[in-house]
Amino acid sequence: MVRFIAVRLARALLTIAVVVTFAFVVLRVSGDPARALLSPETPAEAVEAFRKAWGLDAPLWVQYARYLFAVVHGDLGQSMRDGRSAIAVVAERIPVTLMLTAPALILNLLIGIPAGIYAALKRDSIADRLVMMVAVVGFTVPSFVLGLVFVLAFAVELPWFPSGGAGGWQHLVLPVITLGLGGAAVLARFSRSAMLEVLGQPYIRAASAKGVPWPRVVTGHALPNAAIAVLTIVGFMVGNLIAGTVLVESVFSWPGIGSLLVVSVVSRDLAVIQCIMLVVAAAMITTNVTIDLLYGMLDPRLRDLRSGRR
């Protein structure tokens, strides 16, 4: 087990190193921050001075070495736009984004999993078809379209909720639902097929043959097995959720990481973009490690594989 965690940790560090390098190279190669940040009429000397001040005049590998050295020492650079450290700029946005993503994830799980299981248990019934129809719609409509429809319907036509910005709980309703529904649809479809797969297994019939009442066959025999497959999807969904916040925060002008990323990319605020990428990478890695650990708890076959082979 210790070995297992050590291997995962090493792999996580490697992933972060790759992300850091990739972000660095792509951002330097794809355009000049001086041009983006300064107006076109800025005199050449001023542009030169800007480049010198931010270290952009050095060769790429020197910049990379300086950057790595700073990162290892916990310094992710300064925001070109507002002068504070990138970490501070990003850190104040994290809880704001979590206010959206955490309830959206809960909404995903609370709607998606029960709907999928219900559809599987009532296979081919009207209820099943209805759930799957709604899921296909939720799954195909992109979140920004859904968000705009919600704004039109529940903020403009029916002025029940604000159309954007942060404030009281009313501000949360539309963006959380927008972010949550797409994931819930995906999860419903996967939970249904995972459950159907398990319900077709011989051990389900064997449990019934043993005299286990059907509700207990479902909760005691089917669900623990279906959970293994559903967990895989939940991992992917956390990734989708992070991608989704970028769009949804822009639609609802929610002042979180997503809108910060958009603004920073437009103004080529390199340090901030890199810091966000690092945070996202760390979040994804944490999610995956958590899911791996949960796998071991759910599936005894994996547990043995790990302690036996590694």
Binding site: Y203, A209, K210, G211, V212, P224
Partner: protein, 328 residues
């Protein structure tokens, strides 16, 4: 002896396609019955239908009476008391018939808690005794094992222990050795025989292996196309079988002492369930077919005046001399 279970006119159809086409069967307390036939002949479906274990899609008619009580279309709450408690079942592939994420001890004690209202601790102690009974060494440690940590033979022993947990009157063993190595097969069959002797329960052994069935069972039923085509005491199976399908199955067995020769195979294939002729289901493949065979349903009739031996074949009812039939 009294009839413990009586199946009459049992028919099953999936989406309008008949799979069972009228099964009549009586099982007495403590007897052992073998059911033989190729895949899809209805030997497993008979019992899955009797226990209400088929999907909703299956249309089931007829009657299944356990000690006089009708089981077909009985409420689920009633069937839960019958399954495992009065009629237990073990399956072909023990590795997939055990839940992979629950320990063996947990799965056995689940049956004990359900049927013998034991608390957790008593149930685990009894589960340990059952594992001993089915010949699993180091039972205490095995209680905490998961199915993937045991071999196929051990898993089948666990299944048998689980079936014994409810102290059933009838054990249905649905091809219990098909997925196992030959050496393990013999051990499991011996275990079944021994347990039947110890507990006095009735045993139904479903198999496509004539040798296994005649070895373990007193009575043998041969099924073809969802019907019983012959029913006879096991000791008559090899010498006196009357139905051309049964004799064909026996002729298809390889022989150890005979000179090497090409194996006999019954010509043709089993027709699709939807295309069976109205008369004898075997008629299209039978070399003794006459015109009337395919015209109307042929009832089981006694062979050689022996009421324990019946076959559904026109040749049996019209021309009795046994020597000629057996030689055919």
């Amino acid at each position: 002896m009294e009839a413990l279970l009586q199946i009459a006119g049992l028919r099953v159809a999936f989406d309008g396609v008949p799979t069972l086409r009228g099964i009549d069967l009586t099982l007495r307390r403590g007897e052992s019955l073998g059911m033989v036939g190729e895949s899809g002949c209805g030997k497993s479906v008979t019992w899955l239908a009797a226990l209400g274990l088929l999907t909703q899609r299956a249309k089931i008619t007829g009657s299944v009476r356990l000690a006089g009580e009708e089981l077909l279309h009985a409420p689920a709450s009633r069937l839960d008391k019958v399954r495992g408690r009065q009629i237990a079942m073990i399956f072909q592939d023990p590795a997939s018939a055990l839940n992979p994420v629950r320990t063996v001890g947990d799965q056995i004690s689940e049956a004990l808690r359900l049927h013998r209202s034991m608390d957790r601790r008593t149930a685990l102690a009894e589960a340990r005794r059952l594992l001993d009974q089915v010949g699993i060494p180091d039972a205490v440690r095995r209680l905490g094992a998961y199915p993937h940590e045991l071999s196929g033979g051990q898993n089948q022993r666990v299944m048998i222990a689980m079936a014994l947990a409810g102290q059933p009157d009838i054990l249905i063993a649905d091809e219990p050795t098909t997925a196992l190595d030959v050496t393990i097969q013999a051990q499991i069959l011996e275990l079944l025989r021994q347990i039947q002797r110890e507990t006095g329960m009735a045993l139904v052994l479903i198999s496509h292996d004539l040798g296994v069935v005649s070895d373990i069972c007193e009575r043998v039923m041969v099924l073809y196309g969802g019907r019983i085509v012959e029913e006879l005491p096991a000791d008559r199976l090899f010498e006196h079988s009357a139905h051309p399908y049964t004799t064909g199955l026996i002729a298809a067995l390889p022989s150890l002492d005979a000179p090497r020769q090409r194996l006999f195979a019954i010509p043709g294939v089993v027709p699709n369930a939807a295309d069976f002729p109205p008369g004898c289901p075997f008629a299209p493949r039978c070399d003794r077919r006459i015109g009337r065979c395919s015209e109307w349903a042929i009832e089981l009739a006694s062979v050689d005046g022996d009421i324990r031996h019946r076959a559904a074949c026109l040749h049996v009812t019209s021309e009795p001399p046994a020597g000629e039939v057996a030689a055919a």
